[in-house]
Symmetry: C2
Subunit: 336 residues, 2 copies
């Protein structure tokens, strides 16, 4: 595996060749500019609400063959227990099994394919607040290109967009979740009224902890392999989604960051963080792909919460607030 | 998936047919008697050292098609944070991909195979003490039979034994680890002087957190697919290994359970527990097999620690006791 080299400061671009020129209008170049702007904006917004004065630490790295990333992490704040906003731009070669895992639909006939050259760029973020009534946020927007797999004549070059924004509370506040979903719907509706229902369901289906029969949280939107419109339109859509992260999330944090809580609330939050770990390590495509392709481990696993808990056979009593959350994770509902 | 039914008390046997008669001398019957005895003995030994007076809770369950299990869990003790000793006897049908994951060597030519009927019985245990200087123990001994995969003519019936006992400290105490390995070697040497070196290396190779380049702990012994001697000999060997668990582990607990420790020691233990979670959810064959085949989730995931921690890019300072542990996990050594 190629290993990353730490950089004292982020380079102007991680791209190479013509894409690297500052006025390039290639999709790769425009996408890199988007994700770096989103990273800066989200970090600034979170620092503004982080009353403890904690700021994001920044780690930049490059890879020998081109590409690299910037991880920004705030840990141990007063409002945020652990928040990470990462961008990465990767030129790589994926093992054929990783290609099949990433694109099951395109993988037919590639059983004997060789390694697959790919380009992947994305912004990825997980924000775990301290307060058990303040939900965890995840968002990720990415652009992918693959060359044709070696030794699989006829298998096509591919490009696609993927991503989503979803919410994982430990307690249900209808007001918060409705607001969150309304902002996602608004972003989707600007492009196609069919998007929100489709991507909302996709999100519920994706963030499914199969061995528990539970969703990780209360969803949001999720999509992958999006290539059924022109790149221009899809890039605009992704931009809209990414710019909706702050208005969807920050009002909830403002409302919940100082809610009084007990040790019992905290213990339940910790159990739900255990479920978060289960989902990310067992099912999450980005995580399992990253672990297989030798990505920068600390950037991949920064999505895990600072602390988590597993109690044997814990079952919340019916009718309690904890039960209500669990019931909602088992039976996803429509919020708007 | 078949679902389990809770039982008020464990039945005399989980076996069916002729194996179920109390004087059956079949391998299945002898193995079930062994694992139930080991479960009782280990729980009794741990309760004797658990000064808080906590005792093991017992959950028994059966499955509609036959088989079942007994989970015994002690949580929140003074000495033990979470300790579980489970037995299970399962008649099932595994998806062909689970068969291939379980027996990669036998899977050639079974790409188009249908579901594979199997029998699996085992005792499995993870013991997480509270004190950061008292190491975590894991042991597991199991017996497996598969029918020939459907639609794969010529693929053989299989039986094999597997298992091992391994230690995961947060701090290195040479005296403890040498004692632990010496007991494993003693058990192995009664059967074949080649066993210990072979199974010690297998253990180091198996408990490998590949994405970290670290072993989970300081190893012990591990083996799988053991079928190269007669069943009688291998059953005797497994019995010897299982009976070595208490003499290998309890003296260490007695020595370390009351060692004074600081919050920093505890935080480091929690980070190492995070690694434990990573290994179990990403790589452990028993866990991933159980999650895929719809085993009893609470029994499978009881191996996870009560609490765990992930700090971004944590690196112990060179020369510290934390660094020494990490260095040993990266570079496994010979202890005797």
């Amino acid at each position: 595996m190629e290993r990353e080299t730490p950089q004292a400061a982020p380079p102007p671009t991680f791209l190479r060749g013509e894409d690297a020129s500052s006025d390039s209008s290639s999709t790769r170049a425009r996408f890199e500019r988007l994700i770096r702007r989103v990273q800066a904006d989200v970090c600034a917004a979170l620092e503004a609400v982080e009353e403890g004065g904690e700021v994001f630490r920044e780690d930049a790295w490059t890879r020998p063959g081109g590409g690299g990333g910037i991880s920004r992490v705030l840990q141990g704040g007063r409002v945020f227990e652990k928040a990470a906003v990462n961008v990465s731009v990767v030129y790589g070669v994926m093992p054929p099994e990783a290609y099949r895992a990433a694109r099951p639909d395109a993988a037919a006939g590639t059983e004997k394919a060789g390694p697959v050259p790919f380009f992947a760029a994305g912004v990825s973020s997980v924000i775990h607040p301290n307060n058990p009534f303040a939900p965890t946020l995840h968002f990720n927007y990415r652009y992918f290109e693959t060359e044709a797999p070696q030794d699989a004549p006829g298998a096509p070059r591919q490009w696609w967009f993927g991503g989503g924004t979803d919410l994982t509370p430990s307690y249900i506040n209808d007001e918060d979740i409705k607001h969150f979903h309304a902002v996602q719907k608004q972003a989707c509706d600007k492009f196609d009224p069919a998007f929100y229902p489709r991507f909302k369901k996709w999100c519920d289906d994706y963030f499914h902890i199969k061995h528990r029969g539970e969703r990780r949280g209360v969803g949001g939107i999720f999509f992958d392999d999006l290539s059924d419109r022109d790149q221009e339109t899809l890039l605009d859509f992704i931009t809209e989604c990414a710019e909706s992260v702050i208005p969807a999330y920050l009002p909830i944090i403002e409302r919940r960051k100082d809610t009084p809580f007990t040790e019992d609330h905290r213990a339940w939050q910790q159990l739900r963080r255990g479920r978060y770990v289960e989902f990310n390590l067992v099912y999450d495509r980005g995580t399992t792909f990253g672990l297989k392709t030798g990505g920068r481990i600390e950037s991949i696993l920064v999505s895990l919460p600072l602390t988590a808990r597993w109690e044997y056979d814990h079952k919340p009593e019916e009718g309690t607030e904890e039960w209500k959350l669990l019931h909602t994770c088992i039976n996803p509902k429509e919020w708007i």
